[in-house]
Amino acid sequence: MVGAVRNVLRYGFEFIERPFERLFGPALNPLSQLGALGFFFFWVVAVSGIYLFIFFDTGIERAYESVEYISRDQWFHAGVMRSLHRYASDLMVVMVTVHLLRQFAYDQYRGVRWYSWFTGLPIIWLLYGSGITGYWLVWDRLAQYVAITTSELLDRLPIFGEPIARNFISTGTLSSRFFTLMVFMHIAVPLFLLFLMWVHILRISRPKVNPPRALALMMLFALIGVSVWKPALSQGHVDLAKAPMDVGLDWLYLPLYPLTETWGRGGIWAFLGAFSLMIGLMPWLPPLRRARPAQVDLDHCNGCARCAEDCPYEAIRIVGRTDNLPFPTQAQVNPALCVSCGICVGACPSSTPFRRSEDLKTGIDLPDYDLKTLRERTIEAAKALSGPGRVLVFACDYGGGRRLDGAVRLPCVAMAPPSLFDFVLSRDLADGIVIAGCAESACYNRLGVEWTKQRIAATRDPYLRARVPRERIATIWASALETRRVAAEIASFTKEMAKRPREKLRSPQASPAVTTQPGSDRTLTKVGSTV
């Protein structure tokens, strides 16, 4: 059941991500920057909130008047700031919701990823808590509705002796100190939210907490634009002698409030409890069955730290040497954090299929899919190639090439060390290589696409040797939906390779000039001249 829902959602995301990727480019695709945009909008809310606090008065009568002064008299700065504050908060809800759905759709919440998923749950609660306390402060009719409904909901819990809602049903029951308390809440809750946002990303290597500058600027200009076009305004002063009627609700923050009329307050709490329980338990419904974690072979590890640098999950630490080999450090895998993606295998300089030792070993390896097996499968797959334009495909388990016959499947294309591509071409196992990974903005293992591109471009260690002709390597970044595109591009690349004469690789050669074709369906990494 959960799997079916996930597949439908995944299909939906993959359907829209490709156009987004084409429109914005992989680096600026907002769908791959949802978490970073969440952080960005948080900072917009924080800065605009501090600015608004200069003008805000916590007096019972002055609260509304000060907000009116902000919105009417000082609209050109404080008013715009109020709108920024409002809309950035709303956009944070949008980002968090889509981020949650996307992580679920791509199955990036189970296994060792349970931690980020689980810590995301209190973030949702605190985000809503921050927004609701904020609406309260304006002390307009919407604030009255929010105050009454929120306190009615809280009164449903067996915590408070006297119903809090009684404070809002007649005049003279509220004091200015109540607003002081609400201001304190509206500052304390977001601060705690920020703390939990930090906790949320603790176990992620290189978390995206800042969107690319161009995307951030686009969002900021759009925020300012919408703030001028449709400024956030108050909805008339509170009148506790009257029921708050005809209120313009913020449906992003308050969608459940009208439901108190039909579901009852107990029903709302039951829903929230069930939702939280479901979200909290989802990483184990059912638990992810994963391959055994990576293992370090100290006889082949010199503690160079490349594996730790490349691990997307902070699963590898460099620690002091525990054997007698003359190196100061060694790699150490934390099995609780390892997802067995194999990126560390591809990063290890010892991972070279050229080694002549009978039992091919490397410094760090996957017990269930080791380098030796990878070399054997590569040779086996190459044997099946025939005719002109023999193209060997290395396909990611989660990308568009995952169902291709004859492809060498990998948990992540970055598991393949660059020397493996050298091995294939220099041993004449194939005329060309296709690396078919995930979509650029939706890499299942976060950094696999990036590392592969950088290794081929010889900008990230371990480099693909200069002697390897880049025009014989094609990278196709495609989602699991794009099987046709992958097949078509492989066919086109095969034709291209068929036209080229076979060549024998020599070493060493000058460093290649690397060119890419951004925006094209296939991003080919080519050298300026054939080596």
């Binding site: 709303d90 009164d155 609700l249």
Partner: protein, 166 residues
């Protein structure tokens, strides 16, 4: 191509932000039908204790630890408050409100909302907060004129022991 892409990016972002701006205060929500008012029955009031204070016998006092000896015992638990509300001659609410608190010694509380059409209404409220089993300890009735959207509160003042209509 670049201009087309920029235009596309602008459209996507503009659509997102416009949607957020629109749904941040639209559609308008109305809690009760137009031309209606709300009668709110809400008070916090503690009924009498379940039993009167009783003087302890000498034997009972002797049985107590020396530092906890007292001459009388006063049970903490309170009785429930029984309340009825009539609107237009019809009883719309009757309940026995249990005392709050783990030991059942806190005040009883009620917070109920009734939506009625605007106009004249006979409102009567009765409460029993003592050991009596019939009749009521506190009552009030009145004909009130409710304006549309008005919030009419039926409260109880413990200090004066009377219902308040406001």
């Amino acid at each position: 191509m670049t201009y087309l892409r920029i235009a596309g990016q602008f459209l996507v972002i503009a659509a997102l932000f416009a949607a957020v701006a629109v749904f941040s205060n639209w559609p308008i929500y109305r809690q009760i039908p137009r031309g209606s008012a709300i009668v709110m029955l809400s008070f916090v009031h503690g009924a009498d204790r379940k039993a009167e204070c009783r003087r302890l016998t000498q034997e009972e006092i002797q049985k107590l630890p020396p530092n906890m000896r007292r001459v009388q015992e006063c049970p903490r638990g309170r009785r429930p408050v029984y309340v009825e509300l009539d609107l237009g001659g019809k009883t719309v609410f009757q309940a026995s409100l249990p005392p709050t608190g783990i030991a059942g010694d806190g005040p009883s509380k009620v917070y109920e909302r009734f939506v009625v059409p605007a106009g004249n209404h006979d409102i009567a409220v009765r409460m029993r907060d003592t050991s009596r089993t019939d009749g009521f300890d506190h009552e009030r009735k009145a004909v009130v004129r409710l304006a549309a959207d008005q919030m009419f509160v039926v409260d109880f003042r413990t200090e004066s022991g009377e219902f308040v209509f406001r």
